[in-house]
Structure formats: C-alpha cells, structure tokens
Amino acid sequence: MAFYLQIDLEEPEQVATNTGWGEVLDWSERLDPGAFPNFVHLCEHGWASGAALADELARAMQAAPPRSADLRRSLTGLLHLFQAAKSAEVVSLTDGLG
C-alpha cells in the first residue's frame, strides 16, 4: 500500500511504500508533539494544514537525524513536497483509493 501526499486538490504524489511510511511513523513517535504539532498530526490523523509542515520537518530532521538511508530518503522526499505546500489549506496522506 503505497502512501501518497495530496496537496489541496493537486493529484497525489507517492511518498513511501507502506513499510517505508511505517518507518516514518516510528521516527515521528520520537518527536515531541508540542514542538512539531502539525507534522505529528499529519502522521497520526492523515491530514494537516500545509503552512508549517516544511519548517517543522526540517527542524525535526535536525533534532532527530534519521539513522537509516531508507528513512532519510523518505523524509527528504517529503520535505521537498512540503516546501511546495506552504500555502495549502490541507495536506493529506492517502493510499490512492478514493
């Protein structure tokens, strides 16, 4: 089950395999939800406002550097997508089924 990121009404873009997204979730569980509220909300509930996501993820990668190449690749791809989503009302994670 690949995971896709949808920014407002743009077509979804793949961000990770299911197992790859599981690694992102494992990593997100090490983060303080108070410091990274939007990113943690996206991980846990599948959607968030786009404005702060790029900043939060960049800071999170500094605070808790990814230890595997797979995870680093997934997070870097996610960061690029977040940078294009700063004015988005909603960024959501989907499995491509609608």
């Binding site: 949808q6 979804p12 793949q14 197992t19 494992d26 939800p33 846990e44 959607w47 595997s68 009302e89």
Partner: protein
C-alpha cells in the same frame, strides 16, 4: 523489452545498499553504554516492544475551508491506525502467500514504486502494489501520470511485471471492535499492471494459490477482469 538481469540479495541486503524488511543491521539500532537499545521507537520499535503506541495528539477540528477541501480531495486520508494494520497484518500475509515454487517475497522500504517484490534465484520477477480497503466507498484507484511513469520505469529497469492486489477488508477491519478483526471476511482482488481503475471491475481471487497462479500467468491467458490496460508492456 529486455530484462536488465539485475539481481538482488534476498538475505537482508538489497540493491543499491537499500534494505528489504527482515534485514537487520546493527548500525541502524543504536545502543547505550550497557548495550540496550538507546531510543524509544525508531526502526527497533517492534524488536524491543516499544513505540507503535496510541495516538498522542487529538484530531483537530478542521476549519470550514479545510473541511470543504478534505471533502473535495480525490482520496480518503489515511492515518496511523490503517497504516499499522496494513503493515502488521496484510503485507506479511501477502509476502508469505507469494513464496513457494522457488520464489521469495519481500516488503520494501523507502519510496520504491512497489510494496512487495517477488524474486527467484535473487532476481526480481514481479512487483506488487498492495492496497487495503477498510472503509466503504473508496472503490477507485487514482494514480497520477508521474506515478504511473515511475512504475513503468521500475518494470523496465528490473525486467519485471507489475501487479495490483487489493485486500478488501471492509468487513474484516475492527469487525468485532477495536483491534478485533475477522480475517474470514477478506475479499482479494487482482489486476495485472497499474493505473486508475475501479476496484469493482477487478478479478475476485479465491485464495493465495490462485493469486500465485495469476501472477505467473501470461497476460493473454488471464481472466478478462485480471487483464492489464491497453498499453501495459509486461514480460509475461
């Protein structure tokens, strides 16, 4: 179409140094001075029985404009619970079910265009995208042209076929309450290839043995509902 003949190790190592599920590298699992795993969560979460915990933040109430946008989006958003369910239940079932007859099957990490690969003698023969349906109404696969191009490129690069498998678990997931699933109600759907299509038109598969047969079958011999779209350039 020629196969690249690219080979992989199926014992933890993977092409380009990437790993498949099941591989364990000590450097990925830092430990403290006493040799204990140093961090909660991370890729060692299942190994040490921590992490993968309950949700830590309550779901926000969307603003009216966010609510409208969520309603308009083409696909349903998916939170942690569904990902965990698919990773811990369905991917292992699929990977295990695809083994046999000299084939191995592995789940992939990072952002590969496939979830599970099937290998034979260390060479990838097939890539499978697994989707899990847990709520009603989500009966269409939508895929951006660039995602389809990546999958086509992956096929060319590996000389492998591509398959879409759906576990329709709408009557399975939490059937008897939270965390209480009824595996007997699973419906398995199959179609060769990838793309945007309705799940209602896919071939209904009886069991894993039939799924293996379908995956190994030449495209022209597949049941009509399992056949790929026009333009699919497969190897079987």
């Amino acid at each position: 179409m020629q196969s690249s003949g690219r080979s992989v190790s199926v014992r933890g190592g993977f092409k380009d140094g990437r790993r498949a599920t099941g591989g364990f590298r000590d450097e990925d699992h830092p430990r403290d001075a006493k040799g204990r795993f140093a961090f909660k969560g991370g890729s060692s979460a299942r190994t040490v029985g921590v992490g993968r915990g309950p949700q830590r933040v309550a779901e926000q109430q969307p603003t009216p404009s966010q609510k409208a946008m969520l309603a308009k989006q083409s696909a349903k958003h998916v939170g942690k619970e569904i990902q965990r369910y698919s990773e811990e239940h369905n991917e292992p079932i699929l990977a295990q079910g695809l083994k046999g007859g000299g084939h191995n099957a592995l789940s992939l990490r990072d952002n590969e265009p496939v979830d599970v690969v099937r290998t034979q003698a260390g060479k990838i023969t097939d890539g499978i995208e697994l989707k899990t349906m847990t709520v009603g109404g989500n009966d269409k696969i939508t895929m951006k042209a660039s995602a389809q191009a990546r999958k086509a490129a992956w096929m060319q690069e590996n000389g492998a076929d591509f398959h879409t498998v759906i576990f329709d678990d709408r009557k399975v997931f939490n059937a008897h309450g939270p965390g209480q699933h009824d595996e007997s109600q699973r419906v398995l759907l199959y179609r060769r290839g990838f793309g945007s299509f309705r799940t209602g038109g896919m071939h209904r598969v009886a069991d894993m043995a039939e799924l293996r047969r379908l995956i190994e079958m030449p495209a022209a011999a597949l049941p009509k509902a399992a056949q790929p779209s026009t333009g699919y350039a497969g190897f079987k």
